[in-house]
């Protein structure tokens, strides 16, 4: 404490600039920079108060909104269940079951829409169709279509989702505007909507000029396609000549995923593509299709490739390889021993080729040093 007291005593408190006013009260007169600092501090204090106000009001608003939403939801649930299960009411009369406020107030309409969509995800068949009728009967589809032109992208995306879920086929032309939108969410939502709504050609958007597709888009579309009936799955070989690299990559992957054997000749041609990703995707699809006719070509491409494609070649050979591959695999396993993962994979391919392959592995094992023996033992252990 003593040093602090000492320092406090040393401070020249009389340095504070002050005078007295006519009533004898002290008036401080600070220099400009001090006043500026004080003003900034006051502004910061004000900002703190505003931030606190927002925190508090956000809590109150959220709670109030949740309560209000819940009350309206309960009301709609009973009306909707009546419309769905109790009475057979014609579409024209549906709107009579809702109050004016339900039909006009935006908040209410949104809650109603949410509830219909929620129920639609639970019900299918006749009840689902009935919900679609209610949606149209209350003119909610016009709300969804209006959303497509909203300035904020997330509102537009929401509209797309609603139209797709409620099966509004006439919205397809409007949705087509978004298929190559720079915003990835709008792009994806419009494609999903078109896929859901289109009965004949769900992937028509692939013929668009500037289609971009990321790995995420491919995954998403694959999931949707896998839910479609088999007859709806298009022949992807029709896009294997596409000049659009993204479309081409997607189609290569889909031919493999949906086991479209007819695309094998084109896939073999694509192994010569200048693009590394296309060669890699073609190899993976050839593997999925067990296309043994590609064996010669993939062995030929091996020496010129990078280690990632080399590994894919070897993995593909494990699926489609025959005894013709043995001499090639022996060469891969020759010293110098580098790129262990390739050596392990080559050994695995040999082990998959039956007795002949096994014999060769045994011979290599006996004639090699510790390093190669470890590689072979690794390849033999199914857990690794």
């Amino acid at each position: 404490m003593t040093p602090i007291l000492f320092i406090l005593q040393r401070i020249n408190w009389s340095e504070l600039n002050y005078t007295y006013d006519e009533y004898g009260k002290t008036v401080y007169s600070f220099p400009v920079h001090i006043r500026l600092l004080l003003a900034t501090t006051l502004i910061f204090l004000l900002v703190i108060l505003i931030l606190l106000g927002i925190i508090l009001s956000s809590r109150i608003y959220k709670t109030g909104r949740a309560i209000k939403k819940n009350n309206i939801k309960l009301k709609y649930q009973s009306v909707l269940s009546k419309l769905l299960f109790e009475e057979r009411i014609s579409i024209e009369n549906i709107s009579g079951h809702f109050d004016k406020v339900d039909k006009e107030k935006r908040f209410n309409r949104n809650v109603l829409l949410e509830e219909i969509i929620h129920l639609h995800s639970t019900f299918s068949g006749e009840s689902g169709e009935r919900l679609e009728d209610i949606y149209v009967g209350l003119n909610l589809h016009t709300d969804s279509i209006k959303k497509l032109n909203d300035k904020s992208w997330h509102t537009a995306a929401k509209g797309m989702r609603e139209l797709a879920l409620m099966n509004i086929k006439q919205a397809i032309p409007q949705l087509n505007r978004f298929i190559d939108n720079p915003n990835p969410v709008l792009r994806m939502e419009s494609r999903i909507a078109i896929m859901n709504l289109s009965t004949e050609d769900p992937l028509s958007f692939l013929s668009g000029k500037n289609i971009q597709m990321s790995g995420w888009d491919v995954a998403k579309i694959y999931v949707l396609l896998s839910k479609l009936p088999e007859k709806m799955i298009p022949d992807f070989s029709r896009w294997l000549d596409s000049n659009n690299k993204d479309v081409l990559l997607f189609s290569i992957q889909m031919t493999g995923s949906f086991r479209q054997q007819s695309s094998v000749p084109k896939l073999i041609q694509l192994l010569k593509s200048e693009n590394e990703n296309i060669r890699l995707a073609a190899l993976k699809s050839i593997r999925s299709l067990n296309a043994s006719q590609a064996e010669k070509q993939i062995i030929e491409m091996y020496p010129k490739e990078n280690e990632y494609i080399k590994l894919e070649v070897l993995k593909t050979l494990e699926s489609i390889g025959s005894l013709h591959a043995i001499s090639f695999l022996e060469k891969v396993l020759q010293p110098p021993l580098k790129d262990y993962h390739l050596l392990i994979q080559a050994a695995r391919v040999l082990l998959s080729l039956g007795n002949k392959g096994q014999e060769i592995i045994d011979k290599i094992f006996l004639n090699s040093g510790e390093e190669m023996q470890l590689i072979i033992n690794h390849a033999k252990d199914k857990r690794l």
Binding site: N12, I34, H154, S214, G215
Partner: protein, 475 residues
């Protein structure tokens, strides 16, 4: 002499003012950018069903690498938690980094491990591997345990990279608790990358798990820490992750992905040389080296940051451990900046060289030094009886109020975005913490940072052991 002293004091006063003004402005700009980006992220996220990745054949496989050193208290539960991660194609590699306790034996017993003939290349430098273990139980085929000679966290991670099978790896602290969809969320940016813009790393927000209810390796209930020190760190983490790193990511200038949880493109990591043994800030150093590599290759790239709470970790609950942690962070920052000094103010490295690195140098590493020097300067002025008391009081007030405002903004971000602390009492306690923190813990943090720099100068190299209570004990 008098004239010199006059000009010196004028310069010092102005320097403190200008430095504070620039620092405040950067905080303001960064938090504004973060706010917009978080809003956008949350909106985008509402259209995403991450479960789609689980059925997609194109979902990339991931190697999860978790170093463990003397983790016997929690290792069995931690490994179980990692094995239960919600993902489709992954392996879990636990690196026992020469633990002195029975960490390895506990894993061998619990998971029925046995040594296997594992052939791997030493692409990354690491201390010798004694053995690689796999389980006899088929359902545990995803688990690989590597036992190696102690070499530190960077060394263990390098060993893990050597052993890993897949092209993307996640480096994680073994005692971290991952959120259910963590891997799915982290992997998505890799799936969105294009040939023109490669995603080289993804980081996520780390949250503090002290006082949270943990059951079977999962966070069941989020609570604000009951103890003051972890609670202060909650504020710090929200500020750093939500207000800071999110903005740096948006600007593509992020140079730190937390060592607690990050996902990386293995090819780029190997090309960059892997984790550096020579620094205790191996997480930051790796990210800078990866960026440096991409800049030198003139290849466009991104480092993505996700604002979701993806990973929960136990924060130090005593000042002693907190001090060790902050000391290490400072040394790590200083070492990394020194290693990559060539980049600072170097326009060849574009945003990295002209903004990110100078910012870290001037406002992360230098800030505690400026702060403590300013403090000493004020004491000296007071001692000499020439302290400008008006300036001192107003500046102190301004800084204190700004600190509270910044923390309040962080609480607001948290409230409007991920809303982890739902009780009204939690918000009041966080606000209370914001009032206390600048007066108590911040000066200590400055002290720890100064000690860290001094330790670095005197050659202290230790990592600073983090003693954990363990989540398993909490109910």
């Amino acid at each position: 002499m008098g004239l010199f002293f006059y000009y010196f004091t004028k310069f010092a006063d102005h320097f403190i003012l200008v430095y504070s003004a620039i620092l405040f402005s950067t905080y303001f700009v960064l938090s504004t950018i973060s706010a917009f980006d978080i809003i956008n992220y949350i909106r985008r996220n509402s259209f995403i069903d991450y479960r789609d990745i689980l059925t997609a054949p194109s979902a990339p496989a991931i190697s999860i690498i978790a170093p463990a050193y003397n983790e016997s208290k929690t290792i069995v539960e931690n490994v179980r938690s990692l094995l239960n991660i919600h993902y489709v194609n992954f392996e879990v590699i636990i690196i026992n980094d020469g633990s002195k306790d029975d960490t390895l034996q506990l894993m061998i017993d619990e998971y029925q491990l046995e040594p296997v003939p594992y052939a791997f290349e030493k692409k990354m430098l690491s201390k010798p591997v004694r053995a690689v273990y796999k389980s006899k139980i088929r359902s545990l085929s995803k688990l690989t345990v590597v036992d190696k000679v102690n070499g530190g966290k960077a060394d263990a991670l390098n060993a893990g990279i050597n052993v890993s099978k897949y092209d993307i790896f996640a480096a994680i602290d073994v005692d971290c608790i991952l959120e259910y969809e963590s891997l799915l969320k982290m992997v998505k940016p890799f799936m969105e990358q294009t040939e023109a813009n490669k995603v080289i790393a993804v980081g996520g927000v780390v949250r503090i798990a002290n006082s949270c209810v943990v059951k079977e390796g999962k966070i069941i209930k989020v609570n604000l820490p009951h103890e003051m020190i972890p609670r202060i760190q909650v504020l710090e983490y929200i500020r750093a992750f939500l207000l800071g790193r999110m903005a740096w990511s948006k600007l593509n200038g992020l140079i730190l992905i937390s060592g607690a949880f990050g996902m990386f493109d293995k090819k780029i990591v190997i090309e960059a040389g892997g984790y550096n043994h020579k620094t205790v800030g191996e997480d930051m150093e790796l990210v800078i080296r990866m960026r440096r590599l991409m800049e030198e290759k003139k290849q466009e790239y991104s480092i993505v940051y996700l604002p979701d709470p993806l990973c929960w970790t136990e924060a130090p609950s005593s000042l002693k451990i907190l001090g060790k942690q902050r000391n290490r962070w400072t040394r790590g920052t200083a070492e990394t900046l020194w290693i990559h000094k060539k980049l600072i103010f170097n326009p060849r490295y574009r945003f990295l060289g002209t903004i990110s690195m100078p910012y870290w140098f001037l406002f992360e590493w230098l800030a505690p030094i400026v702060e403590s020097t300013a403090f000493l300067y004020l004491v000296m002025m007071a001692f000499l009886g020439i302290l400008n008391i008006e300036l001192f009081v107003t500046l102190f007030l301004l800084i204190y109020v700004f600190a509270i405002m910044y923390s309040t903004a962080a609480i607001l971000f948290e409230e409007l975005s991920f809303h982890q602390y739902k009780k009204k009492r939690d918000i009041i306690r966080l606000l209370g913490t914001a009032l206390i923190e600048p007066l108590i813990v911040h000066p200590l943090s400055v002290y720890y940072a100064i000690r860290g720099n001094l330790d670095l100068l005197t050659g202290v190299k230790n990592w600073g052991e983090m003693k954990r209570k363990g989540f398993a004990a909490k109910k």
